[in-house]
């Protein structure tokens, strides 16, 4: 081969490679299916926690969830420590399914009402109750009893619409990137309280306070179930709440997250209120008869500096309402 032939062949090979790359680039779809919301300015939720009140935890046993809630709040300083006059509060409930309250697949409506009532009593100027349910939102909020309970105490239920979502990217996140976030209900809010039941979950092993933030996502979020533990970790990064409330009065021990039978439930008579969502879920695991190692998302969240899985290190206040 002489020099002229070499250059000719090299030029042809280069042209072929360039054409192939151009064609591949033309076909390449950079954005994953579903979640991307081009055209909307990206948003990030602010930190709703109160620095001076971190690491507080109250665990109260008793059959009456209203009594245990009040006692647990009192144990960590009272609602007044967290909610001041004029605060605008968002309650993130679990209204995922259009199921009746007796199935405990969703946040108990009386608990929602009591938290909202206490917030107003502490001086909150507004209380918003929201979630992006799995099923039809109107049916979910109605059949779970949450809409009526919230209305009776003056809280405003905000159901998601297409316009309620803005894209968000979790800091350091690999999964939640440019993902639709139920953002509109957060506008003007300065305090966030997550309220979740304790449930078994077929994919993640458990659904408690950190998994509860899943209800703030839109799009084809079920994709996240493929890497559920990392997804829950990112959800916990996404939301830094003022407080979390984990209702273990009744625990869904099996067949979660939907359940369906009262036989799936067990009276565990425990209410947990804390500023540490990792510690709360770590304790909640015990109600399900599971260990932290069986729920890898807890350790992942702890490793990310979101809280401690060693809830005893917080010296939780333990009480009983008898």
């Amino acid at each position: 081969m002489n020099r002229r032939e070499f250059l000719g062949r090299a030029a042809k090979a280069s042209a072929t490679i360039a054409a192939t790359c151009s064609f591949a680039y033309w076909l390449y779809e950079g954005a994953p299916p579903g979640p991307s919301q081009k055209g909307h300015a990206p948003v990030v939720l602010p930190d709703f926690s109160i620095p001076d009140l971190r690491g507080r935890m109250g665990i109260v046993t008793g059959r009456d969830r209203i009594q245990t809630l009040r006692r647990a709040l009192k144990a960590i300083g009272g609602i007044e420590a967290f909610i001041k006059r004029g605060d605008r509060v968002l309650l993130k409930v679990n209204a995922a399914f259009a199921t009746p309250p007796i199935l405990s697949a969703t946040t108990d409506p009386q608990l929602v009402a009591e938290v909202a009532r206490l917030c107003f009593k502490a001086g909150a100027s507004s209380v918003v109750v929201t979630d992006n349910p799995i099923n039809d939102p109107a049916s979910c909020f109605t059949l779970t009893g949450i809409a009526e309970a919230a209305r009776l105490v003056g809280a405003r239920v905000v159901m998601p619409t297409e316009e309620s979502f803005k894209p968000t990217t979790v800091r350091g996140g690999a999964l939640i990137r440019e993902w639709p976030l139920l953002y509109d209900p957060f506008v003007g809010v300065n305090r966030v309280i997550g309220i979740a039941p304790v449930k078994d979950h077929h994919r993640s092993g458990a659904s408690m306070t950190m998994k509860n933030w899943y209800g703030l996502l839109g799009g084809r979020r079920n994709i996240l179930h493929q890497d559920i533990h990392n997804a829950i970790r990112e959800l916990a990064v996404m939301v830094s709440p003022t407080l979390v409330i984990l209702d273990g009065t009744t625990t869904m021990m099996n067949n979660g997250p939907t359940g369906g039978s009262l036989a799936d439930l067990k009276r565990t008579n425990t209410m947990i209120v804390s500023t540490d969502q990792v510690a709360t879920d770590a304790f909640g695991a015990t109600l399900l008869g599971r260990t932290v190692t069986q729920l890898p998302y807890i350790s992942k969240a702890e490793s990310s500096g979101l809280g401690t899985a060693d809830y005893e290190s917080l010296n939780p206040v333990r009480e009983s309402t008898g």
């Binding site: 299916p33 399914f97 007796i102 979950h201 939907t258 369906g260 039978s261 009262l262 036989a263």
Partner: protein, 330 residues
Amino acid sequence: MVGQPTKRETSIGFGILLVLAGIVIGIFIKQFHYNRAIIGGVLEGDTSAILTAGLSGELLVEMAEGMVALNPPEIFGPENLSDKIDGKAELYLSAGFLRLLCQRFAEASDSNSWMEGFVYDMGTMRRAFAVYSVQRRADAEKIPGMEFAYRTENALFFVHGRYYVEVIAAVTTEEMAEAMRSFADNFIGKAEVQGGRIEELALFPREGLDQDGITLLISDAFGFDRFDNVFIANYAVENVQLMAFLSIREDPSAASELAAAYHGFLMANGGVDVKSDVEIPGAKLVKILDTFELIFSHGKFLAGVHEAQDRGPAEKLAVTLMQNLSGVGT
């Protein structure tokens, strides 16, 4: 001057072309085996097929006779099942789920007294049994006259042919219990299905068997990713709890190969072979985590006893199981 390519160059060229052809064929085949949970979200749902399977929303209304429909019938396919049952969808998808038809109904006199019927079309009775059996509630009450059916305080669950049906109520009144039973009776009377039976259920020894506790594990049984379509059965023999397992494989060589693979899996996870005099050709007894695992194959059957506390009862149960399997064609 361009010389003729050597034989070596030609061979290398063909080799490269073959590799490229292999990649193309691989991609072509792989595209038919996508993960529905990931890709399903961007596909259009085919919700018409359930109507051609002899089941329609109108028929569901007939089944809830005397009640008032609270919403139109909803139909979900593999691509959007999670929109109804969230994280539990994986359980159904892995078992071969086809369609879900569901609707809520209330008593005419009280809209707060309502129930929801869920009809899962699983395609075959075996798959319907799989999702039924893994979700079976402990201490549930059997329903007389129905083979795979039970009820709890607020719900009723059963298999009818290819369908797995749940009827879940918001209240626990006697009237609602009757309405749920009526729904089930109507469903069985009106939903046409092909007859069928699950062969494995009759192969487990009867003595000490919890007949309602037989479960079909579709995949990953005992943490072994190659263990699919495994039936497990619980026994209580002389106050000893035991679990037998059974799986019908494609042919005898597949059964023996999988038995060997499972044995290898146990050994790789800390198991130790234990000498056994059990009279089953080729049987392996493994001690692992202070329990005993007995594995054997017989013809196309793969069987054994899982996590037994004592080897004696495990060997005894395995022999009885083997005798049952010997009585049928392999």
